[in-house]
Symmetry: C2
Subunit: 363 residues, 2 copies
């Protein structure tokens, strides 16, 4: 480009004032709409945001123009100005985990009821990923984060962290959390096995980095204690929530020649794995070994036999999380709270009274 004389671009933006052809696809701005509707930008903005401030005639005219030209306000500019996005990011460790889908539904429901949008970020439990999404909040692209892990990402921001914790919980009591009483729920599941006559109850635990897994294990221990069953450390193994982990755990027990007539698992997928492994070793579920899961994912109903499991109130967890988030966004002063919901044991086909001829440890 040569640098001579005036490089001013003359703009005869005037044709549009009279002509105003639909021109599909062009990106518009308030300015253009204002010019065409022959009002100021302020009036256009008001017609769209707070119509009651604008006279009927003007409002209709503006809306007509907006519609005709397919104008969508630039949300970036708006959000920049208003310092609100009405967008919340829900962080889930793993979309492949069916447990979360129902929770998400609850979150979204409350969000939409309150004029918020939800976008999902999958973190694969990676701190880096979590932090990347958290940075979107720091960068003001979203108002808050609902995290379903036991970690809270750092967000350098004024006052309260716009973070709510669902399903899991964090120690930090400046952060609101919703979760179930895992100790009690796990205890109830084991109590139930005890009432069925089981005494050799194995436990497939989840990663101990997660507080809820620690709680579930504690629930298991307490229930054994209540039943005066001595704890047998060899009957507890830690898995990573996968189907394969459930299989491996059973393989391990069997290879060690452990005797057990029931297995309680920290989640449903490991329970599914456990059932598979048991069956493939010729053991019958529930006749030889009873299996109990945790979560009540959608597939739990469809395994054969169908899985007895602790049903988390997934929808309610989601609803409550988003409710807390909205409270917090509306008033950063509201105190954080830990909300504990209760969970119910759903008895299905994978549990049965202990067989009298206890033969379960024989392969």
């Amino acid at each position: 480009m040569s640098a001579e004389g005036s490089k001013r671009k003359r703009q005869s933006a005037e044709g549009e004032l009279t002509n105003a052809a639909p021109q599909p696809g062009r990106v518009r701005t308030v300015k253009e709409i204002a010019a065409i509707a022959k009002v100021s930008v302020a009036t256009v903005s008001r017609a769209l945001q707070r119509p009651e401030l604008v006279s009927e005639a003007t409002r209709l005219r503006i809306h007509e123009v907006v519609k005709r030209l397919g104008y969508t306000p630039n949300a970036l500019a708006r959000n920049l100005r208003t310092a609100r996005t009405r967008l919340v990011i829900a962080l889930l460790p793993d979309i492949a985990n069916p447990f979360f889908s129902e929770v998400i539904r609850g979150i979204e429901q409350v969000a939409y009821e309150n004029g918020y949008s939800v976008l999902l970020g999958e973190t694969q439990s990676s701190l880096v990923r979590e932090q990347a999404y958290a940075d979107m909040v720091a960068g003001r692209q979203a108002d808050g984060i609902i995290t379903m892990s036991h970690r809270v990402p750092a967000i350098p921001i004024d006052g309260r962290l716009p973070v709510v914790n669902a399903c899991e919980y964090v120690k930090d009591n400046k952060i609101s959390s919703v979760y179930i009483d895992n100790v009690t729920a796990a205890g109830a599941a084991v109590d139930y096995l005890v009432t069925l006559g089981h005494r050799d109850i194995a436990f497939i635990a989840g990663p101990s980095s997660s507080p809820i897994c620690v709680d579930r294990e504690q629930g298991y221990r307490l229930a054994l204690h209540r039943a005066k069953i001595p704890a047998n450390p060899a009957l507890t193994v830690v898995g990573d929530f996968s189907i394969e982990a459930g299989e491996r755990a059973i393989e391990l027990f069997l290879s060690q020649g452990q005797s057990f007539s029931a297995v309680f698992c920290s989640n449903d997928e490991m329970a599914i794995g456990a059932m598979r492994a048991l069956i493939s070793h010729g053991l019958r579920v529930p006749e030889d070994v009873s299996v109990v899961g945790f979560d009540d994912i959608r597939f739990a109903r469809y395994t054969s036999p169908s899985l007895t499991t602790v049903a988390q109130p997934k929808h309610a967890l989601g609803r409550e999380a988003m409710t807390m988030m909205i409270e917090l966004l509306n008033d950063p002063e509201v105190p954080a709270r830990k909300r504990v919901l209760s969970a119910d044991l759903v008895v299905r086909g994978s549990t049965a009274p202990r067989a009298t001829g206890a033969r379960s440890h024989i392969v």
Copy 2:
């Protein structure tokens, strides 16, 4: 451990210019950073965006200040100015559907390789929801949309619609799509059943609103035709992709007294439902009836018997979709293309040669 004296540290506001106390939590702007680092805002911005333009000494000083104060640039302001967000929204009909998780992985992988972020929007196949996410693109909050349904939302925007279509495809050939050759894949599945000796092959179709389901049905028909098996309309029923739909379909066939020794299903969940219903009616899979699914979701491997199914290259579909998206965002002039990948039949335990004594229709 509270000490007796007041140990309040002096924190003079302007002291920051010299002292620069960390003051955690405050929100910063380039201006502040510039003032503290004693440079102009332009230099701060450059130090962060294009460090090579800034002298080493200045750069280090700025970075130090940025780090110390925990400054994150306001992404809204940046995106507003640059008209880019480097964010892509992936629209998935249903997070509960395990098929999509692997596709998402592929999308995210390519995104991160190219400095993009991905957020997920669940649409529940609702047009309204799809449109709401599309409006985020219109409002410039995201650069593009990858949709996994057969609908393309409307985005009033200059030039090419920043939309890529994955897994499904749309007729509109201004839109790029990646998907598999469903006719061939379905045909191969049915061919396989034919080679096993099956002739009475039922088909549980998916919603006919979706072109890929139409294709799968066509693949089924063509395969029957190749095998010179007359089509029997009574052996085709339409489901909605759910486990329950698979169960209902089988119930229907059985209640009508249809005779069949194999069932081909348009997706895995319906196949799982079909297996359940068959088994609960005392039929053995695969001895009495062979079942074939479509998609190869993670659970297909874990059903009993494990499911023979058409494995979609889920990861590749995702990678390719995001690759196309990036191409398109980098150059809106690149022509749209329809990329067709191939799918492989994975033979597992749910299929077997037809039993000679054909008794499959008896309950």
